[in-house]
Symmetry: none
């Protein structure tokens, strides 16, 4: 193993380990010792690469959001039609719960912190704004192209994201509540009916 240029390897190692710890044991039971053990490193080295525990936590959530952002970019942006983009985005939201279930386990642990930790709050706000902004772009594009009616778009981004997130949370907490794929179709129907009326 190289002894120099470990920076990124170690940071990723710690971030991944922390994510697993939070999802498995909850933020409440997260300790630096656990993180170190899960990452297979010493506690000391963690403080070489991160300022403190809080610093790790910020990097973890940023990394999660960054990954989510990337997924949208990779799958949605290549598409041309606003309608397709919107539907693909919706599918994406649904896929997160199914394929990357850690994601919800993770942000649920951070959402609780938003009211007491300003820094977390800012990051989460930015993430939500980002999500709404994507949707807004598709909608505006669609309105321009007369695919969507202008009247409906105002609050729609929030509706789309809120519904996706709500379903994701609900399913994460109780996977027996409904069939995720089938619900994904209903999700799209709901939005489609509203946006095309």
């Amino acid at each position: 193993m190289p002894k120099v240029g470990m920076e990124e390897i170690r940071r990723d190692q710690v971030i991944a380990a922390t994510t697993r710890c939070i999802v498995k044991n909850g933020m409440v039971n997260l300790s630096v010792k656990n993180i170190a053990a899960e990452a297979g490193v010493s506690t000391g080295i963690i403080y070489h690469y991160f300022k403190n525990k809080e610093d790790i936590l910020m990097h973890v959530i940023k990394a999660a959001f960054q990954q989510s952002h990337q997924a949208v970019m990779d799958t949605v942006e290549p598409l041309n039609e606003p309608h397709d983009k919107l539907m693909k985005h919706i599918e994406n939201i649904n896929d997160v719960a199914k394929n990357n279930s850690d994601f919800y386990g993770l942000i649920l642990n951070y959402l609780g912190q938003t009211s007491s930790n300003e820094q977390v709050n800012v990051i989460v706000q930015k993430f939500f704004r980002n999500l709404r902004s994507y949707v807004n772009n598709y909608l505006e594009e669609g309105v321009n192209r007369k695919t969507f009616t202008a009247g409906s778009v105002k609050n729609l981004p929030a509706i789309v994201i809120a519904l996706g997130m709500g379903l994701g949370i609900m399913w994460t907490v109780d996977p027996e509540a409904f069939d995720l794929d089938e619900m994904g179709e209903t999700y799209k129907d709901v939005i489609r009916k509203f946006v095309e009326s």
Copy 2:
């Protein structure tokens, strides 16, 4: 100060104090010492009325859900028309965020625990199932009375609750994201359009 019959008073005192502590500082920073200080009692007495910290936490979430359940009962049940009930329920969900903002601050802190604490998970699942079940009742009633079309109701309860919860969370995290009252109308429109199509 009376020395007898304090049981309920003290328990409520501690539950209320714990709720405030969680909302203000987050579950991660919750300590029994804080709870005692917030409640204006000694730490010792807390263990006279509760088995341990976990026990308090369970009572806190149960109390919050019970209160929410009561609000639905009080406002929705008196109504006669399924459509009115559904819309009233939706209004209720929205009102929670506005009038009882602690509620979201609280459950966001518990949602993070669902993946690691089975007991919390069960309670939250039960709560969500309850909520969906209410909506389902209105819908079935509406289908019987031909107010709603049968085809749409299958996944609708989850949609209604998920959307409401998603909006509540989003607004709690970022109250500047949208106007809650206006969004409430859109929320109703979305559901109405879907259910009546």
Copy 3:
């Protein structure tokens, strides 16, 4: 239940309960709350009849020693022959382990305190001196009557008591170590052979 003249009843109740608690859970785990529960009274009343926990403990050991003293008096003193007295005393010591096994469980818990608690030390010393003194009396009587040889009696009281106590402790700790009745005979043989040689 009478409300006056409860003094002795309550004190005995508490002393008996404390004894059971110590034997069952060890002095290390003894709490006033446990005592109260075992005695079926409130914690408050305990402080009405005893100065504090230490005070209870002193009364418990005194009561145990008093009882042991009484047993000797009742069974040994009526006898006439020094040799019979000595053997009866030895039988008594053995019987304690068998019939009143709490006794060893109790004093073992107090013996540990002798090095750090002067008051306990004094009580235990007095008890041992008492025991040796009984034996000494039989021996002196026996020497006077020419039953025993003078040379052997000097250290014998301690030997008799030490051997009895050692066997009692050993058997209490490990009842499978030997058959108590058979060992009682050997115990008597050992002393008899020494004293009559």
Copy 4:
């Protein structure tokens, strides 16, 4: 101060400190804080080397018994004659009270725990069995060589150990009770007379 290879040093430090604390203040008043202070370390480090307080206590008694075992091995085993071995063992038992008075202060504190703490009970039982087993070996050897008569050996190991322990305890509790050296001779006489009759 070195930072590596401290494991054994620290463990011994803590075990020795705990022993002193127990002898001085009794097990009832033993706290991890005291141990740490007596050992001259922080409380935190104690939990780095021991699982918990119970774990320390187990190591303390094991160390004490191990030391006692070693003393027998070193002084008794080199001897050839069964009779010499037996007498040397007896002298050893007596010497413990005189030269290593902490030993009795220590085990007296553990004996009280045997009835409530299974783990301690097992350790103490094993220790006693060991002691009896040594004596038994000398006796069997002696019977083979016709030094001892076969009839007397059955219960003798327990008698030897019990008497030694009883005397040790008695003297530890009340050193004025008798002269230890002189009593040691009587102790040997008692056993000798019994075994050689």
